[in-house]
């Protein structure tokens, strides 16, 4: 049964997101800068065995989504810490509706960021060899991961006791994609980092996208990516539900 509170709260989350200057800068400018920076600044020095722009797109996507979700964590923390929480509670608005609104807006904003990354990539020579199926797999894997990171961000927003703390935690989490196959091949890393890189969600998502976009064999990576994403979603939802009830005292 749909909750009457969801549409107005989704509309609210969209407005807050669109009018959050920092958040929109992160969503719209960061993709351009990162894409250009990695391809032109670092790309020449990194040997991946393919053209670097074709290699790096999934990595830049993940980093942008990571930063974009950080905005969501801060927005949720602002709600939790602010006076509006008491009003919503005294109006019997369910926490799931409030957080759900932010997650929907977060997914939308991150997908726009992702589209921008792809557009810039094409402009500077990104030429994937994927069929329609390959694109669909890549888009599906990415969209699911965007949803996962948005829920994770919401959970972080609730865990943190203040918007500043949420910002700090989200900032640390946004480094996770760097320790993956995002920018350099995992085989070039020291053994300890390689173990981390090979067993974390970013690598699974990136490898699945890279393979599907470049017409390679996707195989287990896609399933790993899906399982990771679903696990993150499940844990984040459970965590935010429990924490929300505890925080909202």
């Amino acid at each position: 049964m749909p909750d009457y509170a969801v549409p107005p709260l989704v509309a609210r989350a969209f407005r807050l997101a669109l009018r959050n200057v920092d958040g929109m800068m992160t969503a719209l400018i960061l993709p351009v800068i990162l894409m250009l920076m990695f391809v032109y600044l670092f790309g020449g020095a990194i040997d991946t065995g393919t053209r670097y722009v074709d290699y790096v797109v999934p990595g830049v996507l993940l980093v942008c989504i990571g930063f974009g979700s950080g905005t969501t964590a801060v927005t949720v923390a602002n709600d939790i810490a602010g006076g509006i929480m008491d009003r919503f509670r005294s109006m019997d608005v369910r926490g799931e509706a409030l957080i759900g609104g932010h997650v929907v807006a977060s997914v939308a904003r991150n997908l726009v960021s992702a589209a921008l990354v792809i557009a810039v990539a094409f402009a500077i020579g990104f030429r994937p060899h994927a069929e329609v199926t390959g694109w669909l797999v890549a888009a599906g894997v990415l969209a699911l991961f965007v949803l996962a990171l948005s829920w994770l961000a919401a959970a972080i927003g609730i865990v943190a006791r203040s918007p500043e703390a949420a910002q700090g935690i989200a900032f640390l989490v946004s480094f996770v994609p760097y320790v993956s196959s995002a920018f350099v091949p995992v085989r070039t890393m020291p053994a300890a980092l390689r173990t981390v890189a090979n067993n974390q969600p970013a690598t699974a998502v990136i490898d699945a996208m890279r393979a599907s976009l470049n017409g390679g064999h996707v195989g287990a990576d896609a399933w790993h990516a899906v399982v990771w994403s679903l696990a993150i979603i499940a844990v984040s939802i459970a965590l935010s539900g429990a924490l929300f009830r505890r925080r909202a005292r």
């Binding site: 009457y4 549409p7 807050l16 006076g83 509006i84 008491d86 005294s90 019997d92």
Partner: protein, 321 residues
């Protein structure tokens, strides 16, 4: 008379500290009730218990006919709470905030829009309606905040320190607004640290000190408890000041060593004042100056709790500066 708020024996502790300690209240429908007390007296905790946001450790409370613990949903649909911290979105316009609250109160799109427009008009915010709240003044925010609470046409309105932080003019406007609310028949429960505010707005005032209600009644009844007026006496020197305090003992309603002044309750009549002077200063050498003042609720608070309200300690010094 129909009671809209009825609480008995409410208690609440945080970390072993009892912040609400056996509070009982009765608020008849359509009246304004003020909970008066200094910072940390437990005012906000009581409001949060009555508004269903905090569960009491002990005691019971019924608001708008429903139990605040067992029947929380029913209470929530009949009340509004405007807290000390603005519960509106800075990044939305005034109109967007109110329309959203309407939708969250289950009004349909058109009804929510109409209700928002009506409240904006009533709270003198029509001109600013389509500007973002981040550009509003403190007084405008507070008005919008209260308007947001009224979207669902509540029966009981809780206002937690509605004028704290407002400039004098906005405070006057807020008082007019609260009086207007009371005139529409809703029950208003407000908290305040300002004696003048409680005096101006409330039918009944309860004085809260360290989690307990130490007095309750109309402003007039409370003032009667310390006499109708207060004679402010300034001693000629510190030794005399202490002599006077020793001589008058319980009759001193406040004393300020810095300015060597002390206040004594009196009925305000000349014979009472003369008798007092004859008693404590027969040779007319110990009192440097005096002033007759109408008893304030501050005096009430002092005589009930032995402590001054925060923020009012400077009052006597100003009067004699």
């Amino acid at each position: 008379m129909n009671e809209q708020i009825r609480a008995d024996g409410l208690t609440k502790s945080y970390g072993g500290v009892r912040v609400v300690d056996g509070v009982g209240l009765r608020v008849p429908a359509g009246t304004v009730f003020a909970l008066l007390g200094p910072n940390g007296a437990g005012k906000t905790t009581i409001v949060r218990i009555l508004a269903t946001l905090t569960a009491p450790d002990g005691g019971t409370a019924r608001v708008a006919g429903h139990d605040v613990v067992a029947d929380r949903g029913a209470v929530r649909s009949r009340i509004s709470l405007t807290g000390q911290y603005a519960a509106i979105d800075e990044l939305q316009t005034g109109r967007e905030n109110l329309e959203m609250m309407g939708r969250l109160r289950r009004l349909r799109g058109r009804a929510a829009r109409a209700r928002a427009a009506e409240l904006l008009e009533r709270f003198d915010l029509t001109e600013a309606a389509d500007r973002r709240v981040s550009g509003y003044s403190g007084g405008m925010r507070r008005r919008l905040d209260i308007a947001a609470g009224l979207v669902g046409t509540p029966e009981v309105i809780f206002l937690d320190e509605p004028t704290t932080g407002l400039d004098p003019r906005s405070r006057q406007a807020m008082w007019a607004l609260v009086s207007g609310l009371a005139a529409t028949g809703v029950t208003v429960f407000l908290t305040t640290q300002y004696l003048e505010e409680a005096d101006r707005l409330a039918d009944t005032i309860a004085v809260l000190d360290r989690g307990r209600i130490v007095a309750e009644g109309s402003a007039r009844e409370l003032k009667r408890r310390v006499g109708g007026a207060r004679l402010e006496l300034q001693a000629t020197d510190a030794a005399t000041y202490h002599d006077l305090i020793d001589a008058l003992r319980d009759r001193v309603v406040h004393a300020d060593r810095g300015s060597l002044t002390l206040g004594v309750a009196t009925d305000g009549g000349a014979s009472d004042a003369r008798a007092l002077f004859d008693e404590i200063d027969p040779d007319a050498i110990r009192i440097a100056s005096f002033e007759l003042r109408t008893a304030s609720l501050d005096d009430v608070f002092l005589s009930l709790t032995g402590d001054r309200l925060h923020g009012h300690a400077a009052e006597s010094e100003i009067a004699h500066a």
